[in-house]
Point group: C2
């Protein structure tokens, strides 16, 4: 399918064209930026809302996502889902288990679910995932869910690209929570304790609430504003949003209405006082920087003599006569000098 054909298909809202567009973007094939540039013109006009869902493996995120999809469908919203799956560096394939389990919604034409592989994304995964979410929004889905598994830096960056970030925990997370909390607990707009029919759920929920309260107090007393990451603002409690801690049993649907209501509340909160528009501007600035960095990297590693120079110098680097820093500086000087370094 040519880029032109994909763009035509997207305009006619053909799911096959959407699937092709996503593959194009995921693999950064020729024309992918043209498709994204076109999609960009269609964003921010409709009523699309993006929700990021993350949490440790086994927390029941997929079941909760499925329950949310059903809830949205009952309200007649169309739903697009990007699920970022951990991928084997060897097999290169996305893990399909969770996707297959979503059978209650996977045959519904108002629902589009796409698994993204993490392979080879090399730091660009957050950008690529956001771009796929753009395609889903441009296609017209009214709710876009971005699900990531894990609690690493990349996974958090991805979840935080959405307007509302939901962190899903389970009572059993207690063991790992000591390590998790400092890195994760403040990034979410809504906290969900799933499987909350299990023993210890109430106590765990209270612990999370207490922890949020305590840490919030610390954070704003001691930290200068420039230490916060400005580009991807989370729902910082400083600006008036108190992240709720909800209990759900995703497998029975218990608490899902409350979660949907909290999502609505958070969206209204963002709309008030221009926060949504301001967040969008910040995200677009960050995106432009990320796209520029990616373009420069591609140009540098593919369009210039970098690999040639690297091959020439590698013996010297390996035996310690030169360092990676000397060689990088040499190459950068050539790049700065302009055309000289390019083929």
């Amino acid at each position: 399918m040519t880029t032109e054909r994909i763009l035509e298909g997207l305009a006619r809202r053909e799911p096959a064209a959407l699937a092709r567009a996503i593959t194009l973007v995921e693999n950064q094939r020729d024309g992918f930026e043209q498709v994204l540039s076109h999609a960009h013109g269609l964003l921010g006009r409709g009523s699309t809302r993006r929700v990021g869902i993350t949490g440790p493996p086994g927390a029941g995120k997929s079941t909760l996502t499925e329950a949310l999809i059903q809830r949205f469908r009952a309200q007649r919203f169309s739903v697009g889902v990007v699920a970022v799956d951990p991928t084997s560096p060897f097999t290169g394939g996305a893990l399909l288990g969770d996707r297959i389990r979503m059978e209650s919604v996977s045959l519904d034409p108002g629902v589009f679910i796409r698994s993204m592989a993490t392979r080879g994304a090399q730091g660009g995964l957050a950008t690529t995932t956001e771009e796929v979410a753009d395609l889903l929004e441009a296609f017209g889905f009214e709710r876009v869910l971005i699900e990531t598994v894990g609690v690493g830096q990349t996974e958090l960056d991805i979840a935080r690209s959405a307007e509302t970030t939901v962190l899903v925990l389970v009572p059993e997370s207690g063991d790992g929570i000591q390590a998790l909390k400092a890195g994760v607990m403040e990034i979410a707009d809504i906290y969900v304790v799933n499987k909350s029919d299990r023993p210890g759920a109430d106590k765990f929920r209270q612990e999370v609430e207490v922890m949020l309260g305590i840490r919030r107090g610390n954070a704003f007393r001691h930290v200068a504003p420039h230490h916060r990451r400005a580009e991807r603002p989370s729902a910082a409690p400083s600006d008036g949003w108190e992240p709720p801690v909800l209990g759900t049993v995703a497998s029975t649907g218990e608490g899902v209405d409350e979660l949907a209501a909290a999502l609505d509340r958070h969206y209204s909160y963002l709309q008030a006082g221009g926060r949504l528009a301001e967040r969008r501007r910040q995200r677009l600035a960050a995106r432009t920087r990320a796209v520029l960095e990616r373009s420069v990297r591609r140009w540098l590693l593919e369009g210039t003599r970098v690999e040639e120079l690297l091959a020439l110098r590698l013996d010297e680097v390996a035996d310690g006569r030169r360092s990676p820093y000397d060689v990088a500086a040499e190459i950068l000087d050539q790049v700065k000098a302009g055309g000289g370094a390019t083929r």
Copy 2:
């Protein structure tokens, strides 16, 4: 402390100079590449071995690391540790809990432990961590341990920069293992089931063994070589190493001798047939690329008119008249044209 003073201090093996050098590198302050360039000349000469330790939160990695340190100290090896901690985007501080617990070794002058914050590293965390490990090796530590918490892409990249990668699991990981396995299980050279005195440990260990066997079979039947990530080779079973699955109880020291023996075996395996030298060359090539990308990014975002152009175009991007891709292309064209885009 000036760069010169730091270099002198490092030559005299002053721990304070090492601490300063690490801070310099961590924050990429002026002179950090000079220090790293100097350190590079001291690498690969001594008997330093690097071990990466990763796994989900709560698996007992820190306790196991402490036990390994004690084991190495009993053999009279000096030990440097880099621990990559999840960090709150708000508080900006590393989580100290686990470090404090390492009290049995923290006062030993033959042991140096450093926590790294993940804040602001923005994709460069793997490179920075490797650079701190370089400083520890250049300083003369004979065993360098790199500990990361989590199972995201970044954490794996970090753990895999070591010569030997250890993945620590616990019997309770079973619930999350379905999601973990495709992304994580094949990256390690040695698998450890910690807390193996708990119920179900033997069964879990067998499951991991079976899974490794099965997935290995799949991987090499169906995947073309170019799908593998060439730059950071893991101990691919294809080249003759069978990753062992060991049981430990880190808190009592049970199984730690076996782990140390497995580390020795893996190192001998790497030394045989020039694998170690080949890996080192590949790592140095990858490092040079990473340093170059970082330098270009810094130059681009700090030394050029990027922010100025971005500010000029942001209104048009926000209202959809232009896309991030148009603007990035415009800026890249100016960069390619050479000096024109720079201040």
